[in-house]
């Protein structure tokens, strides 16, 4: 059951998916056999099949939505000969599984965006792709990792394709929750909900798969509250750890108005810095490549050929949107860390047995817990969530964060 190994603590979902993959495999095998006997006509799907043509994976961030979708895609493409002997598809080492997992399978299209949203234009291409027959004779799988980033128009473009795809096309959509997808899309998919994996399971996976020290693994798993990706990042990336430490010191700097403003400024600055770093890594290279492709002489200053300004501007716009997204994502991460901190304060204030996630700043948590009342802490958590919403609705980042630090100070 190798392809399911990365799905941590999702027993029921894995069961459901592997059953579906088995039925899908049976269907493909039957159709191939029918074709070999040259009995013309479509093999119909068995009535009791656990397979269907559109799936919607939901679950909190870090629960492994896209991992589940990729694993399922791999299982659908599995060509391990053991299948005929009754093995479940999804071995993890046959051609089909392997190429899917590394992202080179010809019949698996993974759509993930680094932009703010997925627009109508990109989606139309996707619909065209979905009507192709699979070249490998099994399934044409389209994995849409950020279905929540589809714009309304793009969602509507998808409707028809998701409702009645070509016979061998399977849609796998991923979104944080059902509410993030248009109701009309939602009703056309079979829904699978993933849960937040338990902290121990995450730590276990980090130790087993990434070879991280058990102590560190336990600490980062607890700190990220079951978000596998972030736990691994924290465990492996020194900069991520230091940024997190900075964020957790923020509640101490909110003594006066000036402190609030400075804290907000530094938070936004570090996010901007992050976006700039990402931009530096890729923007210049992309631009130079496009210039070369459009036929400009190498070197930054030469004139562009006539009629290429539009393409250059498109690229610049795309890069700008990516920078916005990076900045927002970084800020959002910081806010989640901050919310986790106040969650700990609340847990201490209410005397619950829930373990403290940010054990490294236990002293600060205790001090804050004894200096205010649970109502204050709740109001602060609300202010953080309100700030996340404000950022998502495009409020100026500095202003939104300042309003939040002010609210954190007031309690």
């Amino acid at each position: 059951m190798a392809v399911w190994d990365d799905l941590v603590g999702q027993g029921p979902v894995v069961e459901q998916l592997s059953a579906a993959a088995r039925d899908a495999d049976a269907f493909v095998t039957a159709a191939a056999a029918a074709h070999a006997e040259e009995s013309v006509g479509h093999a119909s799907r068995a009535a009791a099949s656990k397979m269907t043509h559109a799936w919607l994976f939901t679950g909190p961030p870090g629960s492994g939505r896209s991992t589940a979708a990729r694993a399922f895609a791999a299982a659908l493409q599995c060509v391990n000969p053991d299948r005929t002997l009754g093995a479940t598809p999804g071995c993890g080492f046959c051609d089909g599984c392997h190429t899917t997992l590394v992202g080179t399978h010809a019949d698996v299209e993974v759509v993930a965006t680094d932009q703010l949203s997925i627009g109508v234009k990109d989606t139309r291409d996707l619909v065209r792709r979905s009507s192709l027959s699979p070249s490998g004779g099994r399934w044409q799988v389209i994995v849409l990792e950020d279905a929540d980033r589809l714009t309304e128009g793009a969602g509507n473009v998808l409707l028809k394709a998701v409702e009645e795809p070509a016979p061998r096309t399977v849609w796998l959509l991923c979104a944080p929750s059902l509410e993030d997808v248009l109701p009309t899309i939602r009703s056309r998919c079979r829904h699978l909900n993933l849960r937040t994996p338990p902290v121990e399971a995450v730590a276990d996976v980090l130790v087993r798969r990434d070879g991280i020290e058990p102590e560190l693994a336990a600490a980062v798993a607890r700190a990220t509250q079951g978000h596998i990706g972030r736990a691994r990042r924290l465990a492996t990336d020194e900069r991520a750890r230091s940024r997190r430490a900075t964020v957790l010191r923020l509640p101490l700097q909110l003594g006066d108005i000036g402190g609030c403003l400075r804290a907000a400024q530094s938070l936004v600055d570090s996010a901007t810095e992050d976006a700039k770093q990402v931009a530096e890594e890729s923007d210049a290279k992309e631009t130079e490549e496009l210039r070369a492709a459009l036929g400009a002489a190498p070197g930054g200053s030469s004139r562009m050929p006539r009629g290429t300004a539009g393409a250059m501007k498109d690229l610049a716009d795309r890069q700008k949107r990516r920078a916005t997204r990076t900045q927002r994502d970084t800020l959002d991460l910081a806010l989640v860390d901050l919310a986790g901190f106040y969650r700990d304060v609340l847990a201490v204030q209410l005397g619950t047995s829930a373990p403290v996630a940010n054990a490294e700043v236990r002293d600060v948590i205790d001090r804050l817990a004894s200096s205010c009342r649970p109502e204050n802490t709740l109001r602060r958590i609300e202010a953080i969530l309100a700030c996340r919403e404000a950022l998502a609705s495009n409020v100026a980042p500095l202003l939104a964060v300042e309003a939040m630090t002010m609210a954190l100070r007031g309690g």
Binding site: I257, G258, A390, S393, N394, V395, A396, L399, G410
Partner: protein, 326 residues
């Protein structure tokens, strides 16, 4: 007003430097008028960089059979091609008698070599900079009336500048029109008969009024800003930076020097002084309340509310109220 280094408009070479179209045109008109006064048959040639090829200048300045006076005007001299500049430079050093060359140059780094050469050869220079400060525009209006030989009150000038805005041509036209239409002293009532309203209102003006607690004036200015089509996010940005500046300075050490503060907060020193004035009446909690109100307004103008104008008004009222909370 245009500053003149030498007052003889018939100097062999005149350079008009700047980007204010009206003043450039006036500099040209001065020269042409003077030349026509000296010789009514003066030939005026207007050239642009694309009509001035290498050699054209030599052709134009070569002595004519009838020894007539000529004024050669070169517009956008900063855009001249390198070859043409090679032509023009030697001429600057040795101008031909009876020819008046007027170079209109935008200033700035582009085509600077030509400008430097002209300055070095001792040409007459007329400065035509864009007027950016409100005080400059007031002075301009006053000078316009003075040139027309009319007396004007300072309130009238202010009303006129408010109503017309920053376009110098429009201001000059309005002055000419008033001087032609009205007898006697031009005062506020006269101006108000022809010009009302406010052509320009910025978010920063709204913010400055709001943070000093003048709610009524701030609301009025906000309405003007909305009416002249100021982008709404710009207004919330101005409000936010106004309140933010107060928040920053409020917690700064009391005895700190203006220069140090300016460096620390990244503001110009005059801004520090102004914010210090505005700070009276503010409390720390007031800053918190005001900033949150602005954040709400920002969300509203970006689509969270059906009536962004109301959201802005609400924020302005809140700011003005907390500005007097002490």
């Amino acid at each position: 007003m245009a500053k003149k280094t030498s007052d003889d408009p018939l100097a062999p070479v005149t350079i008009a430097v700047g980007q204010e179209g009206l003043l450039l045109d006036r500099a040209v008109a001065d020269v042409v008028t003077a030349a026509r006064a000296a010789d009514a048959d003066t030939d005026v040639r207007e050239l642009t960089p694309d009509t001035l090829a290498p050699g054209t200048l030599a052709e134009l300045v070569s002595p004519s059979l009838f020894a007539e006076r000529k004024v050669v005007v070169v517009r956008d001299a900063q855009d001249l091609s390198a070859d043409t500049v090679k032509d023009v430079k030697p001429y600057l050093a040795a101008p031909v008698e009876g020819i008046t060359l007027v170079l209109l140059h935008a200033g700035g780094a582009k085509g600077k070599a030509l400008l430097d050469a002209a300055r070095k050869s001792g040409s007459r220079e007329v400065a035509c900079p864009k007027m950016t400060k409100p005080a400059d525009r007031l002075a301009f209006v006053r000078a316009e009336f003075r040139t027309a030989g009319r007396s004007v009150t300072s309130e009238a000038c202010q009303t006129l500048v408010d109503a017309i805005g920053s376009d110098l041509r429009e201001l000059a036209c309005a002055c000419a029109q008033l001087a032609a239409d009205v007898d006697g002293t031009i005062d506020e009532a006269v101006v108000a008969r022809y010009y009302t309203g406010r052509a320009e209102a910025t978010g920063f003006e709204v913010a400055d009024l709001a943070v000093t607690g003048r709610a009524t004036e701030a609301l009025e200015r906000l309405r003007w800003a909305l009416a002249v089509g100021q982008p709404l996010p710009g207004i919330t940005f101005a409000l936010a930076s106004g309140v933010r500046a107060i928040g920053k300075l409020a917690t700064a050490p009391r005895g700190a020097r203006t220069g140090d503060l300016a460096r620390e907060f990244g503001m110009p020193p005059w801004k520090i002084d102004r914010v210090r004035q505005q700070m009276r009446g503010w409390t720390g909690d007031g800053v918190a309340v005001a900033l949150r109100a602005v954040a709400e307004a920002d969300a509203a103008v970006k689509g969270a509310s059906a009536d962004p104008a109301y959201a802005l008004e609400k924020a302005v009222v809140i700011i003005a109220r907390v500005a007097q909370s002490r």
